[in-house]
């Protein structure tokens, strides 16, 4: 199987930067169809810049980007944008339509899709994110999580192969975050969708198959969430909030307890604690 995203030796420099200063430096990675990859790193590490390079919102200084076998260039950029759905951080600043259904239809209008098909696609997309009762609502009357779900419905309607989440849950409250993540998991279950999520949120990173760590514009590490989360307190340096289970482990270790080095989920941690108690 060929990778759906293939990035080779990508360099990026903002126009105002000097020639030797790079925001992204020699980044190479591939993503297979259907994979969920999380990209983590601090603020300013270049994560969002990387995402914007992938669909041609920014043009790289060097290197190649291939999306589904097509090399990204000025000639292919609009075709590639059809393949990539992108959800951004601020729920308000990406809501183009005056009502929910108008916003979901926006990408379809841009592609010139005939109206009868738009109507059915918008309807099914809204049903998929469980927002069908809000179709004629104005964005001012929605919560942040609802707005992000509408943004996701807009992606579903446009049927891209790749979904990029650029800190899509970072401005939401915990409940909104859970809603959005649940929606994405469901979207993935229903189709062969490739997800690339840029995040600080440990739950979001834990949902991924693979985690890429970016620091100062370079790809520092790559591994499964379990491998990456073993770093414990070093996670904070990577720009991730440490998961609760890991924080607990670190605290127990300071108390002189022998803790497992393997990454455990909260539930796994509880089980381990129970066993520890009963073994005594």
């Amino acid at each position: 199987m060929n990778p759906i995203i293939d990035v080779q030796h990508l360099d990026y420099r903002y126009p105002q930067q000097a020639a030797d200063q790079l925001t992204l430096h020699d980044i190479s990675f591939t993503v297979m169809p259907g994979e969920w990859v999380a990209i983590v790193g601090h603020n300013g590490s270049g994560k969002s810049t990387l995402a914007k390079n992938l669909n041609g919102l920014l043009a790289p200084a060097a290197g190649t980007i291939k999306i589904d076998g097509q090399v990204l260039s000025e000639a292919t950029v609009w075709d590639i944008r059809k393949e990539i759905g992108m959800v951004f951080q601020n729920p308000d600043n990406q809501f183009v339509g005056a009502t929910v259904e108008d916003d979901v239809a926006f990408s379809l209008e841009n592609q010139g899709i005939p109206r009868p098909e738009m109507l059915t696609r918008v309807k099914t997309a809204l049903a998929q994110v469980n927002m069908q009762d809000f179709a004629t609502r104005e964005p001012a009357r929605l919560s942040g999580g609802q707005k992000q779900r509408v943004a996701l419905a807009g992606m579903i309607a446009a049927r891209p192969q790749i979904l990029i989440l650029d800190e899509a849950t970072s401005m939401l409250d915990p409940r909104g975050r859970q809603e959005v993540l649940a929606t994405i998991r469901e979207m993935k279950a229903n189709s062969e969708l490739t997800v690339l999520s840029i995040t600080h949120d440990i739950d979001e990173a834990a949902s991924a198959n693979r985690v890429l760590v970016i620091n100062d514009g370079r790809l520092k590490e790559e591994g499964t969430p379990a491998e990456i989360f073993q770093h414990g307190e070093a996670l904070i340096k990577m720009g991730l909030d440490m998961p609760y289970a890991e924080r607990l482990k670190a605290a127990l270790k300071r108390q002189g307890l022998q803790v497992p080095t393997k990454y455990l989920t909260e539930k796994g941690m509880a089980d381990w604690l129970w066993q520890l108690r009963s073994n005594k």
């Binding site: 841009n110 109507l119 001012a140």
Partner: protein
Amino acid sequence: MMNKLIFGRYIPGDSVVHHMDPRAKLLLSFYFIGIIFIANNWLTYAVLFAFTLFAIYLSGVKWSFFINGVKPLIWLILFTVILQILFSASGGHVYFKWGIITISQFGLVNGVYIFFRFVLIIFMSTLLTLTTPPLELSDAIEYLLMPLRAVRFPVYEVALMLSIALRFVPTLMDETEKIMNAQRARGVDFGEGNIFQQMRAIVPLLIPLFVSSFNRAEDLATAMEARGYQGGEGRSKYRILKWHARDTWATVSFAVLTVVLVFLRA
């Protein structure tokens, strides 16, 4: 407060007037302003009033909204009426004359007509804004501007601009409220002191609002491009306007009204 001024105007409803095509409503409202000037006696004004009140009755909107529509303009209306009474050419019986000021029968009657004209126009335009959501109005404007495409006027872009502007009004209202609260917490007094002090208090409100608007604009442009927006050409439309039989009937009733007015005028 500002929210009510601009957006509290639309009152959701399920009447014939609410369901009319916004193009029909917009055009007929303008047309109505035109035919008001046909009326020139008591009978014609009575017909116009009967017609307007019937339209209001059909909309099912409470009368008080229309009275409230006239209230803020009452001084302007009275001022115009008084000017008309005092300075119009004399005719009929003259009651009072002093220098250039003349109060005549003719002037008084004209003053009352002008008052009626104002009230009719306000009632009809209030009916338009109370029964039509702003977004539908912007759709109607887009449609009516279509002929301008012949002279390369960017109709689609202007229409999208209008709809984005409308969509962001509540967002920016919220933001204004937030900034005002933040400034209040730092001791700024809004609505206190003389007019200059009040104006000065607005400055620390406007600057953060402008900065954030530009940031929003940039984010929105990025999001639109990411979703494949390449300008108005070649786009299909999700929202369409439909002309129904009721719109034809409304148009016909305005035509009949015109004929009646022409026959009854002095």
